[in-house]
């Protein structure tokens, strides 16, 4: 009964005209910012943060949160249409979203991601509203050893994100991990690969890396291969929006699995939507009956990461609200918006400020509904964006990428980082090196390293302590099983290999 009363209170709060208006404003701004490559939720929320001084804390949070999860809806649009991720967590969506667009199925991809986003969001909110106290205490039991094991599992599960040469994929993962070591080592304070530059001391900004590697590299590539004909190849008719029966059949299970994965990683402070998107994509590819469809426009390949990152965005509020611990810089701003009004989130928030907690939770439902209503009709408009000639579209995108990279830390250096990784990304395309594994290594590498070293300090150097803990031990065993199974599978497949179609480079030699 309590829950019903609370939900009613929350709904009452969320549906008050002022909160409704700010929720709409938040999700609208969020979608827009998500669509624009470069400018992310963090920059947008930082800019709007001062306004929250003049708002009720609940209203302020509803707006900021709307921006936050709204970006996850919009982020996939540019990934699918332009092969340029609007947000970092949508980078994975490029892998199958862009091939779908090239096959004239951009509308389907956009519709499926909007629905997958809604599915993931709703799943995340359910977890948030029913299990918050349970999940929060359970998240506390994760120590560094457990995080380490989880990140290793994530790396193994997602290591198949690229198709093509496994060696190249692995090389890019390692390169990503190496790039991530730039900066001050958090355990010893030693500066690594900074060459005395203070700008490098904080490491490479993930936003700048992703924008360069995916966005700028895509633009350079397109400029070189004159692209007028590819516009013709893109169907923008209304009929192209409708998912087929086969698309729907491929929707439910991936969406369900990805939402679970997303909810899990979202609730753990420090991990988040990008890890969730990678892992869910990797899992779908592994469980698929025909993994070779991935990377060539598989619907599961857009559904999974988008359901996962939206679910993660919602469950990220669990540690934020119930422990008072921000899992990311964006969440720190949310806590700040409460602190401004003298509210300190923590285990007592739900009992001390039920209107705030439940109002926010219910506003997520409202906001997600608004987003799906907002996004589905917009698809037609977005797809039409493709008819804008590249010579007008790309300079505009480049300007936005630069503004976006600059606005996160107000560092001109980050704009240079975008350029540097744009050039690297282009070079990688020439040598058909996949970019997604580099981003994966960049995201997971530092987590693996830092949690491992911290776990070693906490275990006083005893490695067996990592295997001996119940959570980390279980996760590592699962990881090992996946490894063994995939090696076994590749051994069994090998005899068939000679009969497989010849690799493209053989044709080149003619």
């Amino acid at each position: 009964m309590d829950l019903v009363a609370n939900l009613y209170l929350g709904l009452e709060t969320a549906l008050s005209p002022i909160n409704l208006a700010y929720c709409l404003l938040g999700v609208f701004v969020g979608t827009l910012i998500g669509v624009l490559p470069g400018i992310g939720a963090l920059a947008a929320i930082s800019m709007l943060f001062p306004f929250t001084y003049h708002l009720e804390p609940t209203t302020a949070l509803i707006m900021l949160a709307g921006i936050y999860y709204g970006t996850a809806y919009g982020g996939s649009t540019a990934s699918i249409l332009l092969n340029i991720p609007g947000t970092t967590s949508s980078a994975v969506t490029c892998l199958d979203g862009y091939p779908m667009a090239q096959q004239g199925r951009a509308g389907v991809a956009l519709a499926m991601t909007a629905i997958a986003s809604f599915f993931g969001g709703v799943f995340g909110i359910l977890v948030l509203s029913v299990f918050t106290p349970v999940v929060a205490s359970w998240a506390l039991s994760f120590g560094s050893a457990d995080y380490f094991a989880l990140m290793v599992l994530g790396l193994v599960a997602a290591s198949t994100v690229s198709d093509g040469s496994p060696i190249k994929g692995l090389a890019m993962v390692v390169l990503g991990m190496l790039v991530a070591t730039i900066g001050m080592d958090p355990q010893s304070g030693t500066a690594r690969f900074t060459f005395g530059s203070l700008s490098l001391l904080d490491g490479i900004s993930i936003g700048a890396l992703a924008m360069g590697l995916f966005g700028v590299a895509e633009i350079i590539t397109s400029v070189r291969s004159s692209s007028n004909d590819s516009i013709k190849a893109r169907d923008v008719s209304l009929r192209s929006l409708m998912p087929t029966r086969d698309d729907w059949r491929r929707f439910w299970m991936p969406a369900l699995r990805a939402s679970t994965i997303g909810s899990f990683f979202g609730a753990l402070p420090g991990t988040g939507p990008t890890v969730a998107a990678f892992v869910s994509y990797g899992v779908e590819k592994r469980v698929a009956t025909d993994p070779s469809r991935f990377g060539k426009g598989a619907v599961e390949g857009v559904v999974a990461p988008e359901a996962a990152n939206n679910a993660a965005d919602q469950t990220a509020f669990i540690p934020t609200l119930s422990l008072g611990v921000p899992g990311s810089a964006t969440m720190a701003l949310m806590i700040g918006a409460m602190m401004v009004h003298g509210i300190h989130p923590g285990p007592n928030l739900v009992t001390d400020h039920p209107d705030l907690f439940w109002g926010l939770v219910m506003s997520f439902w409202v906001g997600n509904l608004m987003l799906v209503v907002l996004n589905l009709p917009l698809i037609g408009l977005w797809v039409r964006l493709l008819t804008v000639p590249y010579k007008m579209l790309y300079p505009a995108i480049l300007v936005m990428v630069c503004i976006g990279a600059y606005s996160v830390h107000f560092k001109a250096f980050d704009v240079m980082v975008v350029l540097g990784f744009g050039i690297l990304g282009y070079a990688m395309r020439i040598f058909s090196m996949p970019a997604a594994p580099l981003l994966l290594g960049f995201v997971l590498g530092p987590m693996i390293e830092q949690h491992f070293r911290r776990a070693m300090v906490l275990a006083r150097g005893d490695f067996t302590a990592i295997i001996g803990r119940p959570i980390s031990g279980t996760v590592l065993v699962i990881t090992l099983l996946i490894l063994v199974l995939s090696i076994y599978a590749s051994m069994r497949r090998r005899p068939a290999d000679p009969a497989a179609p010849p690799a493209p480079h053989i044709e080149d030699e003619d």
Binding site: L140, G143, L198, D202, H409
Partner: protein
């Protein structure tokens, strides 16, 4: 003789000009750098200060978050600004601790930065997590003999790191430091029982103490803390040589005209004295700052010395 006269006249004219400059200040937009990301207590206090100063001066005071390198990225950009008072910065004791581990800074923290005044102050406090049995420092020091403790920090070279090293040294505790990415993560690990103690200012720990997520162990310093009268002070437990307080301070670029520093110090004090600002301080569990610009400068320099000595002594200097 003639030359001397000329020099004297020139000096007079210059000081006259400087006085005028200080009197007219500000005539235009003032930028306040916050060397941290948004949402933390320093960010909130600095933004409130910007609001008050803006209202007082009737000029726009723009806040810029320039996080990174334990506040040194924002401080470096301050060091490059003109010392005309139009670029200011708000920082914490990280201003003194970060240079103790970061040796390649592109500025000299002593000469390229001018301390203007203390905005707020609060004691440091050690809080303990689920795995710790003791309720005060005396018992804790004994407990650490049986089970060496883990001191969680907010990162290498942060004040939580240095305060932990100082307490370990002065109170004879068996323990090691383990670095986390920020005070939130450090305290989460306390709650989960993965690490044992975390030391920070009251602004950072009091929300968790009030929610019963971590327990207060000891106040660093000779005296107790008003808001928690039952919590022992380190002086009472017999640990001497810990006379440090956390603070939030206002800084300008190096080589500022003393008249301008005085003017800024006075205006900052007036801002701190307003009711709205006092409320912000109370919400963040800190007290209004005390002392003149000269006092603050002396304190900052003492702390810089203290931390760089401690860093050398305990081998926490990065290679």
């Amino acid at each position: 003789m003639k030359l001397l006269k000329l020099a004297a006249t020139a000096a007079l004219m210059m000081s006259g000009a400087a006085a005028v400059q200080a009197q007219d200040f500000p005539d235009g937009t003032v930028t306040l750098i916050i060397p941290y990301g948004g949402g933390g207590s320093t960010d909130l206090i600095a933004r409130a200060l910007a609001n008050e100063l803006g209202r007082m001066w009737d000029e726009a005071v723009i806040v810029e978050n320039r996080p990174g390198a334990g506040s040194m990225i924002g401080t470096a950009s301050l060091a490059q600004a003109e010392p005309d008072g139009y670029t200011l910065l708000v920082n914490t004791p990280a201003h003194a601790t970060a240079p103790a581990v970061q040796k390649d800074l592109p500025f000299d923290p002593k000469t390229d930065i001018t301390p203007i005044g203390m905005v707020a102050t609060s004691p440091y406090m050690a809080v303990a997590g689920a795995a710790v049995q003791s309720d005060d420092l005396t018992a804790f020091a004994a407990e650490s003999q049986d089970r060496p403790m883990f001191f969680a920090t907010a990162g290498v070279g942060t004040s939580s790191h240095f305060a932990a090293e100082l307490l370990i040294q002065q109170a004879g505790i068996e323990g090691d430091v383990v670095h986390f990415a920020g005070g939130g993560e450090a305290q989460t690990n306390l709650m989960g029982g993965h690490a044992d103690v975390y030391i920070s200012n009251t602004a950072s720990v009091m929300p968790y103490v009030n929610n019963g997520q971590v327990k207060p162990l000891v106040i660093l310093g000779p005296t107790r803390y008003d808001a928690l009268p039952d919590v022992q002070s380190s002086g009472e437990a017999g640990a001497d040589g810990i006379e440090i307080n956390s603070w939030v301070g206002l800084f300008g670029p190096g080589g500022m005209d003393p008249a301008l520093v005085e003017k800024l110090n006075a205006d900052m004090r007036a801002a701190v004295g307003t009711e709205t600002f006092k409320q912000v301080l109370a919400d963040n569990f800190v007290q209004p700052g005390v002392g003149s610009a000269a006092d603050f400068k002396a304190q900052v320099e003492t702390e810089m010395q203290l931390w760089s000595d401690l860093a050398a002594e305990r081998g926490i200097v990065a290679q």
